[in-house]
Subunit: 223 residues, 2 copies
DNA sequence: ACTCCGTTTTGTGTATACAGAAACCGCAAA
DNA sequence: TTTGCGGTTTCTGTATACACAAAACGGAGT
């Protein structure tokens, strides 16, 4: 299972920086310098600049006027704003998916999701599996929608979402509820009931936002 | 009114290429070579590559496996797909705008739009003014929404939309109707009636898509 | 001690040089 | 005629060198 091509330097730099930003290794607000980062990663400035350009396009990094660039901040406000975009995109995606899906795909996914509510009780491994299921759900939606523009927009949202997830330690009660919500959405998609799928997604995202904001509030006041 | 900074080479290359793609000077499917383009524009390969990277992020250009890169095609299918994304974004944007707008801004805009239906009868100059009004409408929405994520997604959609507009010669009957539709949306926003604004936008986009597809059909069968 | 100005340092933006890989061409063999 | 192979060319990907600009520093004057 070796990685096919040896990977270009610019690609390596991009993945490493992106990964570090998403994992919080490079904290929001930290100022980065081209030469510095190029040496650290072990590539020259040219491919590093290309990587940074892509990160800026992703919205993970912002170019500073004079000196270097910096990892973008995540404010409480920006979380709400992201969810406004997410809502528009996911509701549309789910609606289209319900109309175009291959029922078999979602029936198989449903089978998997039945175990989800109990997964959250099985420690870190279960949690990891849980997030894998979410990824599979997202992929199933993307595949059913079959719209490159919409999928690209969703991918961008999910990138930012990954950063936000890190901020909020999840409680298992909420995760269990979220799993149930996903099941409802999946059922609606299988049934081809696009209206129900859309409304269920609306509700799910509402709960999700509430939970994220509450979790972050806990974090900041607890410390 | 001189341009403040002399503009970096990479920025010049980006704007020129982008403009040429949007204007159709560089036809979809045309294969471009780095050296070739760098010489033509008058910059070295390094800034040109940066420009191309941005164009790829914009979705205007796709990197070819081995040799060079090429301007992305616009298929009939992709127009429908773009409108599925556009619908999700604009309906959300208009809904939020109706809730957050400064009424004065939209009252002023309304004043301008009253002249729009007649503008389309006044030749190329009138048409130009008409499109300026559309731009002002978009900017007013963006400002009222105040959501950087949503606005960025909208900007991306508008970029692709600009290419599609070129394909379809517009007839003045449709433009007149579109102006009326915009007026209705503006009125709903002024009234703070977000539901009406959303539904009116839905209708508007439906008509717009029909008109675009019809126009393209005419073009291709007429030739 | 503080401020202003010139110097030095540092970092970006751009050009160019170099290496490796993929496409192209021609020839020969089936 | 077609197919396979070697050499050649051309292009990309990366490193590096250079120029200019902006920030940090330091010294002189107040």
């Amino acid at each position: 299972m070796g990685s096919g091509t040896p990977l270009r330097a610019s690609e390596r730099a991009y993945r490493q920086l992106r990964g570090e930003i998403l994992d919080g290794v490079l904290a929001p607000g930290s100022g980065l310098l081209e030469v510095e980062q190029a040496e650290r990663i072990g590539v020259s400035r040219t491919p590093l600049r290309e990587a940074v350009a892509r990160l800026i396009a992703d919205g993970l990094v912002a170019g500073r006027s004079g000196r270097g660039f910096e990892v973008t901040e995540i404010s409480i406000d920006s979380i709400g704003e992201l969810y406004e975009l997410r809502q528009a995109l996911e509701i549309q995606a789910v609606r289209l998916a319900a109309q175009r899906r291959d029922p078999e795909v979602f029936r198989a996914l449903r089978e998997q999701f039945l175990t989800a509510p109990s997964l959250v009780l099985h420690g870190a491994a279960g949690l990891h599996r849980y997030y894998e299921l979410i990824d599979e759900f997202d992929e199933a939606i993307d595949g059913a929608v079959g719209n490159p523009f919409l999928v690209a927009a969703l991918r961008s949202v999910r990138t930012h979402l990954a950063r936000i997830r890190r901020l909020a330690r999840k409680n298992s009660t909420r995760l269990k509820a979220a799993a149930e919500e996903h099941l409802l959405i999946i059922d609606a998609i299988i049934a081809g009931d696009y209206s129900l799928a859309a409304h269920a997604t609306h509700v799910h995202l509402h709960q999700s936002l509430l939970s994220v904001l509450a979790a972050i509030d806990d974090e900041t006041t607890a410390d």
